[in-house]
Symmetry: C2
Subunit: 203 residues, 2 copies
Amino acid sequence: MRVVVPFATVDPKTRLSGPLDPEERREFSRAMLGDVLESVREAGGEPEVLATAPLDVDTPATVDDRPLTEAVNAALEPETAVVMADLPLLTAETIEGLFETPGDVVLAPGRGGGTNALLSREPEFRVDYHGGSFLKHRASASEIGSVGVVDSHRLATDIDEPADLVEVLIHGEGRAVQWLREAGFSLVRTESRLAVDRAPDGR
Amino acid sequence: MRVVVPFATVDPKTRLSGPLDPEERREFSRAMLGDVLESVREAGGEPEVLATAPLDVDTPATVDDRPLTEAVNAALEPETAVVMADLPLLTAETIEGLFETPGDVVLAPGRGGGTNALLSREPEFRVDYHGGSFLKHRASASEIGSVGVVDSHRLATDIDEPADLVEVLIHGEGRAVQWLREAGFSLVRTESRLAVDRAPDGR
């Protein structure tokens, strides 16, 4: 299975600007990308990075500087999956679950209504990632065929905001969690959920 | 399968005090409980409410006013599942997935490191819901037997905070989403994820 992984090469993950400086955001986003590519390969998929600017990566890569929706639609062919690069909780098993879910279009919702991964077996399907894409994709896909939905916390957990780092520290097993730990991040208990702390001497 | 559903009868969901007044929080938490009980029944489970104070509910209920951990441990027997009452995204399929996951102890993590559901087939297992219970449960369970983990966005999504209401409006199919809609809540698009809005004339 061909798996397109969109990646913002320049100034990635701006909503993590509080805890991470620009160079750290670049490093952390590359670590997350590495986790995603490895999970795809372990699941038997063939990853292709779809980058906004050239990058040095050990995977076939295409550069397309158009907005995400246009770039993905240009890369979309039948039997193509699209998996976001900021999903460091993914495992080979999660990706296999995506590949094996029946449906002309298979969608994996992200927290907050995005579409973190999809698989199109239908040539007419087009993506539209602007605001609340899961509900839009489900509606448009259901007009042209059957729709499968993958229920996965690992697929739903894209890392955009500081609070999301907690999930990496709890469930991560690859490069991204290792990067966070080396940078001094650790879990702290709050009254309700876990939160993150960063040691002053981290990296 | 016996399924214990802990429920805070008095002053529930205090972290929703911003958007909901006390009576609304009572109604909404009862709607979520109803969704959970129905999903358990549809999956062939036998739900038992474990309530902090008497409540009028169409399901066998026990009252235990001790803290959650003590009350659940008193109710725990082998072949018992514990499913939280604030999981309105649950479906019969999700609960079946919990029942069918192998392991002496099966855990379903909640966002932020809690344990939203578990299934114990091991008489020695005890719960401890204080701060970050998923990692503690996984560690203690692995000392006494095999551990299964359920990867489910529906099980991971407990509704505690205003931002969580978005997930109910996107994925909910039962009483809780109906209650929110009747109370005037709807989805609005923000720059990144979806958010909720409430109409001034809602309920």
